[in-house]
Symmetry: C2
Subunit: 142 residues, 2 copies
DNA sequence: ATTATATATTATAATTATTCTAAACTGTTG
DNA sequence: CAACAGTTTAGAATAATTATAATATATAAT
């Protein structure tokens, strides 16, 4: 359980009590090689499958929002139907597959962050992100 | 009522009956100099203020979606809290003011559309749009 | 270790946004 | 002026999210 210890420290260091539920959610979210995108519903389902114990949906919401506020997750709104979270919290760009509703990270080889030549007076730029919408190459343009 | 005639033709030409409600919504949305962004709720409120007659919320939803499907409106998801529509249906970029939840169109002088160097196999690129999130220039980074 | 305190979890209710339904209404065609 | 399909409407239904308030837990204080 060295991973578990890690998560415990991580949570404590940001002022979050390392509860059983939060540690399990950490496990599901952060005990992986690659970052990924998820919806809260997907996450809740994953948890109830992967783990024998159930976590209340309200707790999943609370925890995801707490993790987001601490900077461990990023929220991404791309589609009015689904609200995504991203375990990759760095600034980055996305493909959005309109056929499958899947989000895919872009590497630097795909697209460079565009330069902003003018800003709005009195405001600070917090992020510049590119979204590329793709779909199957049929002639159904709608 | 020359504008009204115009809207009548526009609707007919796309197979939509020019009903009283649709014409009023056209008036509110398209009888302006500049394009703008709105939420369905804002639109419903605007209508009940600007006009003496009420339009059912379901009709506003129906009409906005019909107009979107006909290409007269564009849907923009940027914020999990609010779902926007845009009367500017061209491909373009946006500032999003995180203080006010306001969307602002970017001109070409602000940012150029980035080049996509690689695409996902078997998929067609439907749009490439940049989102610039801004907020007041205090040191409150959260 | 026991107790006290603040914080977190939970089931459920409440709220909000959106879609569905089915009856009434209206625009268009003949 | 029928007749008909398409449209609007109020209200019900659904879905996503947030609020509530009682219970449980983690940590700090004794
Ligand atoms: Mn929609
Ligand atoms: Mn949220
Ligand atoms: Zn991502
Ligand atoms: Zn716009």
């Amino acid at each position: 359980m060295s991973k578990n210890l890690e998560f415990t420290y991580k949570l404590r260091s940001s002022g979050l009590r390392p509860t059983r539920q939060r540690l399990k959610i950490c496990e599901v979210l952060f005990n992986r090689d690659k970052t990924f995108h998820f919806t809260i519903n997907d996450l809740a389902k994953d948890i109830s499958k992967q783990l024998n114990e159930k976590i209340s949906l309200a707790t999943v919401y609370n925890t995801v929002h707490a993790f987001k506020n601490k900077g461990y997750l990023k929220e991404i709104s791309i589609n009015s139907d689904k609200n995504y979270f991203d375990t990759n919290t760095t600034s980055h760009h996305h493909f959005f597959d309109q056929d499958t509703n899947e989000l895919i990270d872009c590497t630097d080889e795909v697209v460079e962050t565009p330069k902003i030549k003018k800003n709005i007076l009195g405001k600070k730029i917090n992020s510049v992100e590119v979204l590329i919408k793709v779909a199957t190459d049929n002639q159904n343009q709608k």
